[in-house]
Amino acid sequence: MSNQVLSCENVTASYGAIQALHGVNLEVNEGEIVVVLGANGAGKTTTLRAICNMVATEGTVMLNGRDISKADTADIVNAGVAHVPQGRGTFAALTVLENLEVGAYTRTDDEVQSDIEMWFEKYPVLGERRTQAAGSLSGGEQQMLAVARAAMSRPTMMLLDEPSLGLAPLIIEDLFQTFAQLNKEQGTSMLLVEQNANLALEIADRGYLLETGEITGSGSAEELRNDPAVQAAYLGA
């Protein structure tokens, strides 16, 4: 059996009196891309927020064998989790370059600059605009920046919250290519939450179905693609 990087055991989460997650169980093994499919309001964002302890939660979240259920968010990031929030969450007033530098906040090695150059090569638009405020970028460019910034921390586990939201199909494809490449070249494990099941299932190894705060199904990417219920709900078949 492969090494488990992340697991949620019976995780519940609530916003005040409203309970958004009712005991979620999921796991991500080393080097895997795992997708969580769910409709609007299913609790996808809340699941990722619960992992980073950004919302009131109960249950157990384990990262590389360590219980992080009660750890500070900054602490969890330090432990190797990078979270690309829904709506990108770039630093609008900072320059593109500064966004990447601050993404490496937890790092102390001397390869930060070369990593930045690597991203500028991968996404030349970002390189050309390195001194411009991130807020002036287009939606697609901001999403690239958000992903690059998250990767700058050299995470072992990446959480991606609906990265395709509001982007043009070509840009989405490019973005998902980057995920697959990061996963392959750096071995970064990924938990990707999406409504856009087509592309997500293409790069994912496994997946879960989330409905109103509960996991209602799971399987390999292949199994999910062929599941009639999934096809009806998420693949527009």
Partner: protein, 312 residues
């Protein structure tokens, strides 16, 4: 014409004080998202410390004997001011950690209440320790009757020039910290997007304390400069706080440049408006409020602040 220039130049001195305290308020606001109403009093405490260290009788307070073999030998006023600025910074960090660290984004009212309580406490400590009557602070710059340069027949006093040099150096250091250091970068990131900064591993609590420390130092500098021009008295910084709050509101709470320019505008309004309307100088605070309200009506986010974006 000369009278106008003279009034402008006179206003410039107060402008430097308001600018320094306004930048202090803006920095701690950027760090914590809150206005620290005790800012002026923390600075005033620093001003009294500076005076204490510079006075022969009280120099033991600061352990002057460590630096000098003569018991009771006072520090030079400049050295004691610099030491007091450092002590005020440390004190501000300690106060932040002790009183304010448990506040999160959801408790603005409690944070405000606690800063008012802190203002009252520090003020009470100052009054009981040093009394309420004004004390001569001493000259930080030559301020005799001939110490000025002539500008179109008006007098630009050395004190004004010196105060601005000090304030510009201090603001320059803050700007260097913000633009050239890793802590400064994370500080700007925190101001820009608190949720995202936590997600890159920034610890807001650390930066909040640093923010208070920087503003404590700036406030102590402002108090010492103000005291060197008039007298050190227990209500000195309360008056200054009101003008400086007007200045940051004008400039925008997150903009350091805005805070400095706001300080100048408020100080000019304070001298020009009563001067030309023939109001008594006690009414100058009304002038500041007029400027403030005018700006709040037309640009509620300040002259240099970021206009809040409505996200859809």
């Amino acid at each position: 014409m000369t009278l106008l220039i003279q009034r402008l130049l006179d206003g410039l001195f107060n402008g430097s004080i308001y600018a320094a305290l306004a930048v202090a308020i803006a920095i701690s606001h950027r760090a914590t998202g809150r206005v620290n109403l005790a800012q002026g009093e923390i600075g005033l405490f620093g001003g009294y410390l500076a005076l204490a260290m510079a006075s022969p009788a009280a120099s033991f307070v600061a352990g002057a004997a460590l630096f000098s073999n003569l018991p009771g030998h006072p520090f030079h006023l400049w050295i004691s001011t610099l030491l007091a600025v450092i002590v005020a910074a440390v004190l501000a960090v300690a106060l932040q950690r002790a009183l304010m660290r448990d506040f999160d984004e959801s408790t603005p009212q409690r944070a405000l209440n606690r800063s008012i309580a802190l203002l009252i406490c520090v003020s009470a400590v100052i009054s009981s320790q040093w009394g309420t009557r004004g004390r001569i602070f001493g000259e930080l710059f030559p301020s005799g009757s001939n110490d000025f340069v002539s500008v179109f027949g008006a007098r630009l006093r050395y004190t004004t020039i010196g105060a601005w040099v000090v304030v510009i150096i201090a603001c320059g250091l803050v700007t260097l910290f913000l633009s050239k250091t890793k802590a400064g970068l994370s500080f700007r990131a925190l101001t820009d997007n608190r949720a995202s900064s936590v997600l890159v591993g920034i610890q807001p609590k650390k930066l909040m304390a640093i923010g208070w420390g920087i503003s404590g130092a700036l406030a102590a500098l402002a108090a010492s400069l103000a005291a060197s021009m008039s007298l050190l008295d227990s209500s000195l910084m309360f008056r200054t706080l009101i003008y400086s709050l007007a200045a940051v509101t004008l400039g925008g709470f997150d903009s350091l440049r805005g805070a400095v320019i706001g300080g100048i505008i408020v100080a000019q309004a304070q001298t020009l408006i009563p001067g030309y309307l023939g109001l008594p100088t006690e009414m100058s605070i009304v002038a500041a409020l007029i400027v403030l309200i005018t700006v709040l009506v037309f640009r509620p986010w300040g002259l240099f602040g970021q206009r809040p974006v409505e996200r859809v």
